[in-house]
């Protein structure tokens, strides 16, 4: 779905943000791009929908080189939800905000209405239909931005730091929501440094540092590897850190999830009580 071929990117200011990145994201995959601030995560995903074009190398979105088509054409396939919703929102009501892109893509009024209602409902925004986005809290504005992209049903959804400003419940809704989108065949790419969120979602993790990909694999392997996490300056999940502190008792050290942690501890206790008998 997205093919990144040895891409270099230098900003006009001279900052070299990507230094030879190659990456393949298959149709229907769920990928988290992680790394420190300034590692090049956002610069990379902005290549996916042509917002930025490579200085060297090539990016193919659904088989088409991003050099050959406009951002508007790409946007229909690759939806991008910005980190800061204020960079995206501008309408007077939430409803108009969500309708805007649909109207630009030429959806009929009846379809448009149905889609808007669907998106509002999906993200728990129905009561704010007639409210100005700027009257809403940061977390709510973020959901409006997400609703406005999902409404046109792009094949690929890119979410830049979707959990910022979201409380725990909203994060859980977001998680279920992403899993559901993904199960319906949508390709989902999130850019995040929220390790606990990634630990709960367990996607493929692409880890970046200083403009390069330093690791690529399943969440469990990447987040529990002390060398990799140190190199990319990310912090392991709290559960992983706890298990690291208990390694000498013969417990595994590659645990990221609370339910798995519970299971391991209960089994350990059961085994040691059997031993005692």
């Amino acid at each position: 779905m997205i093919e990144v071929k040895d891409v270099y990117f230098t900003y006009p200011t001279g900052v070299e943000a990507l230094k030879g990145v190659s990456l393949n994201i298959r149709n229907g995959e769920f990928v988290a791009i992680m790394g420190q601030n300034g590692a090049g995560k956002t610069t990379l995903v902005k290549q996916f929908n042509g917002l930025l074009k490579p200085t060297k190398g090539e990016v193919l979105a659904d088989g088409v080189s991003t050099r050959n088509v406009s951002v508007a054409q790409l946007a229909r396939k690759v939806g991008f939800v910005f980190q800061n919703p204020d960079h995206q929102l501008f309408s007077e009501t939430v409803e108009e905000e969500i309708s805007f892109a649909l109207r630009n893509f030429g959806f009929r009024e009846t379809t448009l209405k149905r889609r808007v209602t669907w998106a509002l409902n999906l993200l728990g925004l129905t009561e704010y239909r007639k409210t100005s986005p700027f009257m809403l809290s940061g977390g709510e504005r973020k959901r409006v931005a997400l609703a406005s992209v999902l409404a046109w049903n792009p094949k690929v959804v890119i979410l830049d730091e979707p959990t910022i400003g979201q409380d725990h419940r909203q994060k859980e809704i977001l998680r279920q929501f992403i899993v559901q989108l993904n199960a319906q065949g949508k390709t989902v790419v999130i850019v995040t440094h929220d390790v606990e969120f990634v630990a709960e979602c367990s996607p493929r993790v692409v880890l970046m540092a200083q403009g390069q990909i330093v690791a690529d694999g399943d969440a469990k392997r990447i987040l529990t590897d002390p060398d990799i996490t140190l190199r990319a300056s990310i912090v392991s999940p709290q559960i992983t850190q706890m298990f690291r502190g208990l390694a000498d008792l013969g417990l595994p050290t590659d645990v990221i999830d609370v339910s798995e942690a519970k299971k391991i501890i209960l089994e350990y206790l059961e085994a040691s009580s059997v031993e005692r008998l």
């Binding site: 809290s137 730091e161 709290q238 559960i239 690291r244 502190g245 208990l246 501890i265």
Partner: protein, 281 residues
């Protein structure tokens, strides 16, 4: 000694159909490190705006109840007076910084107070030193990283030498290591200078180890108010959707499975230590 006291504080924004905070009564002692949390839209930011007088002096609307901050009745004192006692650091430093150099940004609030030049220089030096950004003083704030910018924003507020500092999700744009560094700066201000800290935060996994008082709001009302261990371990916190630390959650799940446990961990180190005792027994 109480530094913030509210009694039945209720506030409705202009044009709002229902109050954003309702009957909030709380006491914050001088020198405390308070975490204020709750679901998105629960009224955290609104409450902070009351503390520093933005409500009712900037936002009109309807404010009822009593509110005393640093010995002043907020309703009777304009924002510039409150600002010398209580400072607010925003979520996104980009919304707060504007000058061409870090030094000028930090000096701005002091210029507005009309302080003499040498006092200003002294305070700017001190604030830059306390936040660990002396070497950035001539740099342009917009060229700095998110974490550095947040330190500049903290220095700007600190230079006013407030008794109380309110941080509204100060780390949400930072990666976990950057966040940890900011929490450490905040913790130092609290422990070394005795600044009363009110931290609005969702990321309790990272922040909970610094606090001794947690307040949880839901739908504009206080639902929990007390010691972190009690609060995180209560069912209410989980049910209203507060993201309690994973270590605490694991503890609860083990207890639900009939494992007898002592204490309540809020960090990974503490959980490892407590769990070791259980596993070795």
């Amino acid at each position: 000694m109480a530094i913030i006291e509210t009694k039945n504080l209720t506030y409705t924004y202009p044009g709002g159909t229902k109050p954003s905070i309702r009957d909030v009564s709380l006491t914050i002692e001088k020198g405390e490190f308070v975490i204020l949390t709750g679901p998105s839209g629960c009224g955290k930011t609104t409450l902070c705006r009351c503390f520093n007088g933005l409500i009712p002096h900037f936002y009109s609307g309807q404010l009822k109840g009593e509110l005393t901050v640093a010995g002043l009745k907020v309703i009777e004192h304009p924002i510039y007076e409150m600002a010398q006692r209580i400072g607010l650091v925003f979520q996104n430093p980009e919304n707060q910084l504007f000058a061409l150099s870090v030094e000028k940004d930090v000096a701005f609030g002091l210029e507005n107070l009309g302080l003499p030049r040498d006092e200003m220089t002294k305070r700017v030096d001190w604030a830059l030193q306390m936040t660990g950004i002396e070497e950035l003083r001539q740099r342009a704030p917009h060229e700095l990283s998110g974490g550095q910018q947040q330190r500049v924003a903290i220095a700007c507020v600190l230079a006013m030498q407030p008794d109380i500092m309110v941080f509204d999700e100060p780390t949400s744009f930072l990666d976990p290591l950057g966040a940890q560094k900011i929490f450490e700066v905040i913790n130092e201000l609290n422990k070394k200078l005795g600044v009363t800290v009110i931290l609005v935060e969702h990321r309790l996994d990272l922040a909970s180890k610094y606090t001794d008082h947690v307040i949880i709001l839901d739908d504009g009302k206080i639902v929990l108010n007390g010691k972190p261990k009690e609060i995180f371990n209560s069912q209410t916190a989980r049910l209203i959707g507060v993201g309690i630390p994973k270590a605490t959650r694991l503890w609860q799940m083990l207890q639900e499975n009939g494992i007898k446990l002592e204490g309540v961990p809020t960090s990974s180190d503490e959980a490892a230590r407590l769990l070791r005792e259980v596993l070795k027994a």
